[in-house]
């Protein structure tokens, strides 16, 4: 019964979304206040209805209601409750429901916190947001209904893919979706601004927090997925340039570009049409990502659904929204007049360069991702574009960004002094060369990657620190703590990028690998460490059987870690998984994997020493933290002042 109510709530939500699309839009066009005021309560109602539908589905999963087809196909009664919960979005239908839940959540949040928005703008934003909701609600109801029942309820379910039964991956999709869908707010604001023909500093100030929030969520989501791949897939890779990873990376790059260009609009009222275009493209790439993941058109390891009707439906949504928005952009962009004047050497020019590099980098990823598809459709060639291409084509952009970032962020607005900025950065430059030298001596004869990465990472981190220091003037530490949070956020996020670059380059350059057959009781050396395979035992788990090894790691005769790598077998899904055991450290990870028993006794054992591995995700955490600091800045919280001021002034008269 509750399932049917959930289904009904979802249909009602579609009706509400339709209403929310049309009524405020017409109201805003004709200046009818009461029509415009429909938007906010409609957004809230839509969110509550979808929330109810989602809760109904969640309940079915938690209570293992196998009369629901989706629960039967993706759950099992013996599964731990956490994975029953995450099973809700561990499948196509449920994850699309989560998508619209988040979409309507953002709409409801804009309705709740947007009290200070001018009414016509608010009405238009919520109307555009609702139109996206209409498209995806229709997609769910017509092609991917999660509420279908089975005529005969089976005794038990078919279980969730064992690889999804993992804490790192359990919360990866929600974060990613919060990021993808969060960009819909930037899109709605952009389209609303085009409809109004007005983009100003206040507009940028409203758009920025939403973009920033989406970017933070994307950062966390991507980092979670990469961390999961690192410890779960058994060879310590952390990024594979797979189409679905790229699908989340392209919006991340464009959202990063949008964040920076919106600053220029806010502070200097320039780059307006470019910022609007970026907002459209960023969400366009989110939709493209949804299309890639959901349609399986670029057959990847990730393709969930391979039903073409779904793919065509999403492609239609993509074409409608991106095509429509770009047409509107072409018609209206010229009305957006730039005001700010700035010199060739200025913060604004630096941010223009930042935007070019980020946008072209995103384009490289895009071309590499779709090229196999294009080649197959147009040329009839089946070819692959893999990690070696992306490493060759993408890395130069990151190097370029790393080089110009500290310089650009130190330049003054309007008219900067390149020489003074470079002088201020001299300590960072010296430090970067010292670190490069150190990395060079530590890894003699090995790749150039380590010294270059060490230099660039240090350059960015030290540059961010100097940036903060510069802001204090000469008044020292006390001032440092009183700096606006936006300044701290900028320094922390930039520093995080440097930390991630250090981690990636040093780990790739210096990792050591050891593959061998080890007998129980055997001792062997990997790098500076000595490992002993003490025992291998069968251990039962809640819904799997496990082969667990016991490995002691010593260094200089002293025990540093005891590792328990596992090989699990999930009988319901008939699938084995490897669970690597990792001893995490600041400067190195020790990573052990146990494999099959070998002919002639012993087990295959793979061991890695991975220097600076944790810096990759540590840097991502810093980036997200920097975003949060910036988001909590007073300026964004009181953006209210901008709109409230006139009313207050009128009252004062």
């Amino acid at each position: 019964m509750i399932i049917e109510l959930g289904h009904f709530a979802l249909i009602l939500a579609l009706g509400v979304a339709l209403l929310q699309t049309v009524v405020p839009f017409v109201g805003a066009r004709n200046g009818w206040r009461n029509w415009m005021e429909v938007a906010a309560p409609a957004a809230t109602a839509q969110f509550l209805l979808i929330g109810f539908a989602f809760a109904a589905l969640t309940r079915a999963f938690l209570t293992s209601d196998f009369s629901v087809e989706l629960v039967y196909a993706n759950s099992h009664s013996a599964k731990p409750w956490l994975y029953k919960l995450t099973g809700v979005w561990g499948n196509h239908e449920g994850s699309m429901l989560l998508w619209v839940l988040i979409l309507s959540g953002f709409g409801a949040a804009a309705a709740a916190f947007g009290g200070n928005l001018p009414l016509p703008l608010k009405a238009r934003v919520l109307s555009v947001q609702a139109s996206i909701g209409v498209a995806f609600l229709a997609f769910i109801l017509f092609t991917s209904n999660p509420f279908l029942r089975l005529a005969m309820a089976p005794m038990d379910g078919r279980d969730l893919n064992p690889l999804l039964q993992d804490p790192g991956l359990a919360f990866h999709p929600p974060f990613l979706y919060l990021g993808y869908v969060g960009l819909s707010m930037a899109f709605s604001f952009a389209v609303a601004a085009l409809l109004e023909g007005k983009v100003d500093a206040a507009w940028a100030r409203w758009v920025r927090p939403w973009t920033l929030a989406a970017w933070i969520f994307l950062t966390v989501g991507i980092a979670l997925g990469s961390w999961w791949a690192y410890y779960e897939l058994g060879w310590g890779g952390f990024w594979f340039w797979d189409p679905v990873e790229n699908a989340s990376f392209m919006p991340w790059l464009l959202a990063a570009a949008l964040l920076h260009s919106a600053i220029v609009v806010e502070k200097r009222e320039a780059l307006k049409s470019w910022t609007v275009l970026l907002a459209i493209l960023a969400f366009g790439f989110s939709l493209l990502g949804t299309f890639i993941v959901r349609s399986g058109v670029i057959t990847s390891v990730h393709a969930f659904a391979t039903d073409p009707t779904r793919g065509v439906f999403i492609l239609g949504i993509l074409a409608l929204f991106v095509g429509g928005a770009l047409t509107l952009f072409a018609a209206r962009a010229t009305a957006l007049e730039a005001k700010g004047v700035f010199g060739l050497v200025s913060r604004e020019a630096g941010l223009v360069l930042n935007n070019i590099l980020l946008a072209v980098a995103a384009f490289v990823v895009f071309v590499g991702t779709v090229w196999p598809l294009v080649a197959e459709m147009l040329l009839g060639r089946t070819l692959s574009v893999g990690a070696p291409f992306f490493e060759a084509a993408f890395t130069p952009f990151m190097v370029a960004i790393a080089i110009v970032l500290p310089v650009g962020s130190l330049l003054a607005w309007k008219r900067g002094d390149l020489r003074r900025s470079l002088q201020a950065l001299l300590p960072a430059l010296i430090l970067a060369f010292l670190m490069a030298g150190l990395a060079w001596t530590m890894g003699t004869g090995r790749t150039i990657l380590a010294p270059v990465g060490a230099a660039l990472g240090t350059w960015i981190i030290a540059g961010a620190a100097l940036d903060l220091w510069q802001r204090t003037g000469r008044s020292g530490l006390a001032r440092l703590l009183r700096l606006p949070r936006a300044d701290w956020g900028k320094a922390v996020a930039h520093g995080g990028l440097g930390v991630t670059m250090l981690g990636i380059s040093l780990m790739l350059a210096w990792q050591q690998e050891d593959i061998r057959t080890a007998q129980v009781g055997e001792t062997f050396a990997v790098g500076a460490f000595t490992l002993t395979l003490n025992a291998v035992d069968e251990v039962p788990g809640p819904n799997y059987r496990s082969l667990m090894a016991d490995v002691t790691v010593q260094r200089g005769g002293r025990e540093v870690a005891r590792l328990h790598p596992e090989k699990r077998f999930y009988p319901v899904a008939a699938m084995p998984t490897t669970e690597a055991a990792i001893d995490n450290g600041i400067f190195r990870d020790i990573y052990a994997v146990i494999g099959d028993p070998q002919q002639g006794g012993g087990y295959a054992v793979r061991t890695y020493v991975k220097p600076f591995a944790n810096w990759i995700w540590g840097g991502a955490i810093l980036m997200a933290l920097g975003g949060l600091l910036s988001l909590s800045d007073r300026r964004l919280r009181v953006a209210a002042g901008a709109a409230k001021a006139p009313r207050a002034a009128v009252a004062a008269e």
């Binding site: 893919n161 690889l163 390891v301 990730h302 004047v341 384009f363 090229w371 084995p576 494999g595």
Partner: protein
């Protein structure tokens, strides 16, 4: 990444990629083998190199690569031999000739275009007259604020 999960879905067993028995005794040759392997795609997997894959055919290619290395072939000859047998599809790094030039040249071209466009925008902005005048709307608001 929700889906690397599926990487393993299609594989019979998720164990180790390179098995201990495959490793060559000569570390220099083995290092070359690993480097070549990282650029070759496992034909039955999704976006996995033969070095990472657990599939049977990936193992066959790994052994083939090592066989040819022991026979004294150079890297390019080995890659060519594998491509001849399994097709262009196994090259993770597409060739930079023919239509693939579009792929390789797209980024530099767009970068140049972007830099050119950026340059002209910045030049225009720096040459633009200082926008001192307020719009009518802004002037009304200013009057409002000043209580005029």
């Amino acid at each position: 990444m929700k889906g690397l999960l599926l990487a393993l879905l299609m594989l019979p067993t998720a164990v180790l990629a390179v098995e201990p028995g495959e490793v060559l005794d000569d570390p220099a040759l083995e290092a070359r083998a690993r480097e070549i392997s990282a650029g070759l795609r496992c034909p039955v997997c999704r976006n996995e190199s033969i070095d990472e894959s657990h599939a049977e055919v990936a193992r066959d290619i790994r052994l083939l690569v090592r066989e040819r290395l022991l026979a004294g072939d150079n890297d390019q000859e080995i890659v060519d031999a594998v491509t001849a047998r399994y097709g262009e599809y196994v090259l993770l790094r597409p060739t930079a000739e023919g239509a693939n030039l579009v792929l390789w040249l797209a980024a530099p071209t767009l970068l140049l275009a972007g830099l050119g466009l950026g340059w002209s925008v910045v030049r225009k902005r720096s040459a633009a007259p200082e926008a001192g005048d307020l719009t009518a709307e802004e002037r009304a608001r200013l009057d409002d604020l000043l209580g005029r």
